[in-house]
């Protein structure tokens, strides 16, 4: 029959027409009067249940959860075959039931559908969370270098002259040639040729190897294209050598890469770097914001967007400070980004978190003014001021090296809540512009002091105890009855405990990375963070940050300021399910850390 079953809801929206027909043919309807039991722990589960009409209540360890029309419940019991939790009809309820073997057969052929039933939180989150809004473009970011039409290399002899190089470029229609010279493998590009002409040398006699570049940057052909893009952005270059097991097999040009990727972070980088005035820089900042929305809409994973955007933003800040600073100032100061910006996890323009280290004994009459203008310009570009005042225009965050050293001693000495949070922000600092050795010295000072100071580490980790993961909120997800206006704070309830917990571990185990995902990779395998937990935590964080990003994009599109407050009722069942998974991971991490740092004893 033409089914009355609604296939537009997750996970059934991933089924092919043939798979839908299988499900439609196997459907039965069940009726449960109000307050009757549907499943009890230990019951054999031979069916998948989908609510047709009514309300079903689950009393589990995370409190009570409600399922309404089109919700699938107890999907994981289907895999195990035994119910783990009690389910009861809250009101008169009609259920669709689909036999277990029909569902299991489909999971074998449809991977995305199957992910819905995974027991492994990390796999579930990774497969399902990153569901693009426009599916057809999703594959783009997962392209590998080998799938991009890069060009085979054009080799020249070590005794070739520049004129030979120019002719080869013309005949082969390439913009660069490779040369094996006495200094190894070099690249000679059109811009090298241009510089050569300007220098007025004789192309018929000059060997090309004298004018080639030898600091080559390459990428393996089974690496992802986005890595190629990141390398180009980071090094401001137009081409990469493509290698296969270390052997050079081609040249990947920016144009080739761009023709592969509809999105175009390069134009943004280009305009950031070419900007010689504040007006141009502002335009570039605007296009950066649009880029985030576009990449997200194209289904790019949030961690990749964050990686790309933080590269771009650091270039923006660096460029802005360089434009504002009078000559000679850059060598004497170091511009830092702090907090989420320092970790490379801030995607939307939520606030400014920055500081300036000034070399001891250096002073410049314009220093304060430069900092004020820096803050004001960022404000004009849409970066709201930091509510906590963590900005280099305040004297507290613009200090000399010895001043900051005293400040670090104060932070670590007192260990009050406020001091600890400032220290936490500082620990995530990343230098973006100026003299980075100023920061390195202070960082070494801090880490020397912290070495083996376990009592301090426990106090430092303690704030993760303050916010209980808001799992009980789900109890109020009753379809219509949930008009309490209760909002879920993604940051306090999920993101902060992960970030701060991992930060505390990073401090203890002397992990120098500031990015949370990189820290997790370094910490992976320690007794406190076994492999499975590490994967779960990373995926949970990515999911929460993804929700945060989407929520922020929605608010910004509506002309409001991005915040972290989500109304769980606006989420789909799948999103709610995954959110529950993610918060469950947060809870597990908190338990592990409580034990590790003996927080219960504080």
């Amino acid at each position: 029959m033409s089914s009355n079953f609604d296939f537009s809801h997750s996970p059934f929206d991933t089924l092919t027409p043939a798979e839908r027909a299988h499900v439609a043919d196997a459907l039965d309807i069940l009726y449960y009067p109000a307050h009757s039991d549907i499943l009890a722990p230990g019951d054999e589960v031979t069916q998948l249940y989908v609510v047709m009409k009514g309300l079903v209540e689950e009393r589990g360890e995370h409190g009570t959860v409600f399922y309404a029309a089109n919700d699938v419940f107890d999907s994981r019991a289907l895999v195990s075959g035994t119910a783990g939790i009690a389910l009861q009809a809250t009101e008169d309820t009609l259920l669709w039931q689909i036999p277990r073997e029909v569902i299991l057969a489909i999971t074998r052929s449809n991977a995305v559908f199957a992910a819905f039933f995974y027991d492994d939180v990390a796999r579930r989150l990774a497969t399902l969370a990153h569901k693009p809004y426009r599916q057809e473009q999703a594959a783009l970011m997962l392209l590998r270098v080998s799938q991009c039409p890069y060009r085979p290399p054009c080799w020249l002899d070590h005794n070739a002259t520049v004129i030979t190089a120019a002719r080869t470029m013309q005949q082969e229609h390439v913009t660069a040639v490779l040369v094996r010279g006495a200094r190894g493998t070099g690249i000679f590009t059109q811009s090298d040729l241009r510089n050569f002409v300007i220098d007025g040398l004789d192309p018929h006699t000059e060997p090309v190897e004298w004018h080639a570049n030898y600091g080559l940057i390459g990428i393996e052909d089974d690496d992802f294209l986005h890595q190629a893009m990141l390398l180009m952005v980071r090094h401001t270059i137009q081409r990469l050598l493509v290698t296969r097991q270390g052997e050079i097999c081609g040249i990947l040009e920016q144009v080739d890469l761009l023709s592969c990727l509809a999105n175009n972070p390069h134009t943004v980088t280009g305009s950031l770097e070419r900007a010689t005035s504040l007006v141009e820089l502002r335009a570039a900042a605007t296009s950066m914001a649009q880029l985030v929305v576009q990449l997200h809409g194209n289904g790019m994973k949030v961690t990749l967007i964050a990686e790309l955007v933080s590269e771009l933003r650091q270039k923006l800040l660096s460029r802005l400070f360089t434009l504002l600073a009078p000559p000679g100032m850059l060598e004497q100061v170091c511009l830092l980004v702090l907090g989420s910006e320092g970790r490379g996890e801030q995607i939307l323009r939520t606030d400014q978190d920055n500081a300036l280290i000034v070399a001891d004994g250096y002073d410049h009459p314009q220093l304060a003014e430069v900092c004020e203008r820096f803050t004001a310009e960022l404000l004009a570009m849409g970066y709201p001021p930091c509510p906590g005042g963590v900005m280099l225009n305040t004297p507290q965050w613009r200090r000399s090296v010895s001043d900051f050293r005293r400040q670090i001693n104060a932070w670590t000495g007192e260990a009050s809540g406020e001091q600890l949070l400032q220290l936490a922000i500082w620990i995530d600092a990343r230098p973006v512009c100026g003299n980075a050795t100023l920061h390195a010295g202070l960082d070494a000072h801090l880490r020397r002091w912290l070495a083996d100071n376990d009592a301090f580490l426990a106090r430092f980790a303690w704030p993760i105890e303050q916010f209980e993961p808001p799992l009980s909120l789900f109890a109020r997800l009753v379809t219509a009855a949930g008009e309490h206006g209760e909002l879920l704070d993604l940051k306090k309830g999920g993101i902060f405990p992960i970030v701060h917990g991992i930060r505390s571990l990073a401090l203890q185990y002397k992990v120098v990375q500031s990015n949370t995902y990189q820290r997790i990779e370094k910490l992976r395998g320690l007794p406190v963070l076994p492999d499975a937990l590490a994967s779960d935590v990373a995926e949970a964080l990515a999911y929460l940050q993804g929700l945060q990003l989407r929520h922020g994009i929605r608010l910004e599109a509506a002309g409001q300021r991005a915040d972290n407050l989500i109304d769980p009722r606006t989420l789909s069942t799948l999103e709610r399910d995954l959110l529950k998974d993610a918060l469950g991971v947060v809870k597990r991490l908190r338990l592990a850390l409580r034990h590790h740092f003996r927080l219960g004893a504080l």
């Binding site: 029959m1 009355n4 039965d28 009726y31 039991d37 499943l39 009609l94």
Partner: protein, 211 residues
């Protein structure tokens, strides 16, 4: 059931069997499996039970709290005469649509096998069964012997009240009052499912816990 009731039922069964011309349908008067019913709906060529011909039949079993939709029966029937033009917009079946349908007796044989001894339920069942019986009698010598449950009568009995003697028995009104989903109408299978839903809901309090 009282002993007199038992005796009467037994006597009726014997009489029915004696009249039945096709022994293969004797199972219709066997003891029905407990908690099982068949919900039935037909589309007809007109609204006059004396002349209407069956165009399509849908039936679905109800077992306890479950409507066994996956094992439903749905048949198209080729009528011997023309379809009343006024009925076509309602059921959407034109002469060419049912041209490939089964001969009436073949369809009815499948329906009887499907129903077995189970009680039959439906919405305005009387009309459907009158047409079915009209076809059965000259062929088998008997009418359908099964217990008949009219869901609108169950609904009326539940809703009628000294101060509210008029009960709206339209399907829309019954579904809305009982908070049941409104499936697209005049698809006989949907109509059979809706009748089954009304039946289950009205029986609701009588159904024990988990299956």
């Amino acid at each position: 059931m009282s002993r007199l009731g038992d005796w009467l039922a037994g006597w009726q069964r014997q009489r029915w069997l004696a009249r039945l011309r096709e022994p293969r349908f004797a199972g219709l008067v066997a003891t029905p499996p407990p908690g099982e019913y068949v919900s039935l709906d037909c589309e007809m060529s007109s609204l006059d039970p004396r002349t209407a011909e069956i165009l399509s039949i849908a039936a679905v079993k109800v077992c306890g709290r479950r409507i066994a939709l996956s094992g439903h029966l749905q048949l198209l029937v080729r009528p011997s005469g023309p379809i009343a033009a006024s009925s076509i917009p309602i059921h959407g079946l034109r002469t060419q649509d049912v041209a490939g349908g089964l001969p009436l007796r073949e369809a009815l044989a499948q329906l009887l096998d499907f129903i077995g001894p189970r009680p039959v339920l439906g919405y305005y069942l009387e009309f459907d069964l009158a047409v079915i019986d009209r076809a059965l009698r000259p062929w088998l010598g008997v009418s359908l012997p099964n217990r008949r449950i009219e869901v609108s009568a169950l609904y009326y009995a539940r809703m009628v009240h000294a101060y509210r003697p008029d009960v709206d028995l339209s399907l829309e009104s019954m579904l809305a009052t009982l908070a049941l989903p409104q499936l697209p109408r005049h698809d006989p299978l949907n109509d059979a499912v809706l009748a089954a839903l009304i039946f289950l809901k009205l029986q609701g309090q009588g159904i024990p816990g988990r299956p």
